[in-house]
């Protein structure tokens, strides 16, 4: 409601919120008490043990420290002010670095009132205002009386317009039973076993070695000495350990890898079920610890299809959804189908909203990426050539360099992108082949960066930031031509405007 008044009012008429309230003065005492063990007790104690200033000296030091701490706490208190306006809440803080934060009501997701033991003693409460931002301390008012905390919460909730909360639609996770549950994807025991075979990992062989090391003194050889290994195969202990025996050990290690892969996969994915329940999806899985999460469809930001060189050969794919704070086990990446045929993904993607697999050809990034990847090799190449003046036989090292170029050429084959129907598709990775499907309206910010070599070759990296994205390894297109990157960024922005 207030949002409409806001919209009608010209920018100049926006009343500035005055931050005129302090938190409760009891907070000074509260903080002081909380800091007591680490400052006024611990530091003088350290001083008492490490020097010989005597009891009076230590007490003086403790008193001075206490006075300084109390002074700083008072200063911090006096500089912390907040105020609730017609459309936002304002928090001013900082002793040296002064900050004035403005949190629009429409962005507030939740107002938490927290009461710890110390706060209870003083009859106070900590108010935490959460927005959709990535941080945790978006608006922390520490501490006010309970009546004031309630007033704040009421004021913020009243000021919030009905159509609020972008990007995450505030929606209760769990709770009400499903009206009509429609199975989207499930894995039978056979499928789970097969996934287990694909999850075979050499990590378990490392584990075997760790085990061997533990019992090393019981073995007749040093496991880290290759000569001894060779000796074992050769003539050292021919009657006890033959080549066949070594092979048997290797086979055992492989078998262990397979068994461990199957065991972990079965315990995690057994009975995997993903069901559509109208506004949300429900996922169940797990053999020993059965887990169940609810994924609000409106909270799904990005879909990610992942496969590998072997998996894709056999036609297997995994589907993940990147979401905001979904259900019990939090936000981030949620598995929606760990092991599925391509066609099986389509109904899930469709049920999740505006997602689909790319029908159009994805475009490769610029072929200059090979040059860009090879450019840093100029230095080692020069080093090899110079050193060849002394040792000409080292020139063969130059032959290694084209391998890097070849690797980047292969990487380019698997790095493609396209923008169609307001969906940005980005494919990347050779070993871990990932395909991001990003609806343009989910893009929070865009970044175009150019390193020195990229500027030299007129290339750029386009980063597409979304809510709940991982800190590294998010969706980005590396080594587009710079004009293409700029054009794509504009297209993405225009696409957002049209929706």
């Amino acid at each position: 409601m207030s949002g409409e008044i806001e919209a009608a009012a010209p920018a100049g008429a926006l009343s500035a919120t005055v931050a005129d309230r302090h938190v409760h003065p009891g907070t000074i005492v509260l903080r002081f008490v909380k800091e007591l063990p680490s400052t006024v007790l611990a530091l003088p104690a350290v001083l008492a043990f490490t020097s010989d200033i005597g009891l009076v000296g230590v007490l003086t030091f403790a008193a001075t420290l206490a006075a300084v701490m109390a002074g700083i706490n008072w200063l911090a208190w006096s500089r912390f002010r907040y105020g609730v306006g017609t459309s936002d809440i304002v928090i001013e803080k900082g002793i040296l670095n002064r900050t004035r934060r403005s949190i629009p009501f429409d962005r507030v997701q939740d107002v938490d009132i927290e009461r710890r033991l110390l706060q209870r003693v003083f009859g106070l409460a900590k108010v935490r205002i959460e927005t959709g931002g990535a941080g945790t301390d978006e608006g922390l008012i520490d501490s006010v009386t309970i009546a004031e905390a309630d007033r704040l919460r009421t004021a913020v909730r009243a000021g919030k317009s009905e159509a609020a909360s972008v990007p995450a639609d505030a929606q209760p996770a769990g709770g009400a039973p499903a009206t009509d549950s429609n199975l989207l994807f499930a894995m039978g025991p056979g499928r789970v076993l097969m996934l287990g075979l694909f999850n075979f990992s050499l990590v378990y062989i490392a584990g075997l070695f760790a085990l061997l090391q533990t019992f090393q003194n019981m073995l007749p050889f040093d496991i880290y000495d290759p000569a001894r290994w060779a000796g074992l195969v050769g003539n050292h202990l021919p009657e006890r350990l033959t080549a066949a025996a070594i092979l048997a050990v290797l086979f055992l290690a492989l078998l262990l890898g397979v068994i461990a892969g199957v065991a972990t996969t079965v315990s995690r994915e057994y009975g995997f079920r993903l069901a559509d329940e109208g506004k949300r999806m429900r996922r169940e899985r797990g053999l020993l610890t059965h887990t169940e999460i609810v994924l609000g469809k409106k909270r799904i930001q990005v879909a990610l299809i992942q496969t590998g060189p072997v998996r894709s050969r056999f036609g297997w794919f995994a589907l993940f959804f990147q979401s905001l704070g979904a259900g019990s086990d939090g936000s981030g990446r949620q598995s929606a189908a760990p092991f599925a045929r391509e066609a099986e993904l389509d109904p899930i993607l469709e049920a999740a909203g505006r997602f689909r697999r790319p029908a159009e050809m994805l475009e490769r990034v610029s072929n200059r990426t090979v040059l860009r990847a090879s450019l840093p090799l100029a230095l080692p190449a020069a080093a090899i050539m110079v050193s060849a003046a002394w040792a000409p036989d080292r020139l063969w090292l130059l032959l290694l360099l084209p391998l890097f170029a070849a690797a980047s050429a292969i990487q380019r084959r698997f790095h493609r992108y396209a923008l169609a129907d307001g969906l940005l598709f980005i494919q990347r990775g050779v070993w871990r082949r990932r395909l991001w499907i990003v609806p343009v309206e989910r893009v929070q910010a865009l970044g175009i960066s150019r390193s020195r070599p990229q500027r030299l070759l007129d290339l750029a990296t386009l980063t597409v930031d979304t809510a709940g994205a991982p800190a590294t390894g998010g969706a980005r297109i590396v080594d587009l031509r710079y004009p293409a990157a700029l054009a794509l960024a504009e297209q993405l922005r225009v696409g957002q405007g049209q929706l």
Binding site: N97, T131, S449, A471
Partner: protein, 153 residues
């Protein structure tokens, strides 16, 4: 692209000077206390540090200052920055979650403020635009705030 306030150049110079001072102290300690002990060539570290300090104090602040630029229109806030890696950031205004207007002691002395825009993203969850005059920063903040209200209505 709009340039930052000239005061920001001085803020950058002072930040560089503080960093240079730390470097200088570290280099002096190394030269006097450690070099004689381990028989490292004398003056090598000091020389390199001196060059580094000269770059930090004389060249780097100006280059960083010139690399900065911003533009805000109806739809977006756009920033450009970076000397070694040049970065453009586009923040759609209707994606802003909340806003900070910040000022440190050095910035206060030179009359500049920082506008910090928070989004729901990860890498660009906190986009900082330094070197604004107080009125400019307040005007931009109010414009973004109005924009958020308008989009919700």
């Amino acid at each position: 692209m709009i340039k930052l306030e000239p005061g920001q150049l001085w803020v950058m110079r002072i930040h560089a000077a503080i960093f240079a001072l730390v470097l200088a102290v570290a280099a002096i300690v190394f030269e006097t206390a450690i070099v004689p002990e381990i028989g490292f060539p004398r003056g090598l570290i000091a020389g390199i540090t001196l060059l580094l300090i000269l770059y930090l104090m004389l060249i780097s602040p100006g280059r960083h200052y010139r690399a900065w630029g911003y533009r805000m229109d109806e739809e977006d806030l756009r920033l450009r920055r970076g000397v070694w890696v040049e970065t453009h950031t586009i923040v759609p205004l209707d994606r802003v979650q909340h806003l900070d207007l910040s000022q440190g002691p050095i910035e206060r002395a030179f009359g500049v403020s920082r506008l910090i825009v928070h989004t729901a993203g990860t890498q660009f969850s906190r986009v900082v635009l330094p070197g604004l005059s107080r009125p400019d920063a307040e005007r931009m903040r109010d414009e973004i705030r109005t924009r958020i209200g308008r989009e919700e209505a």
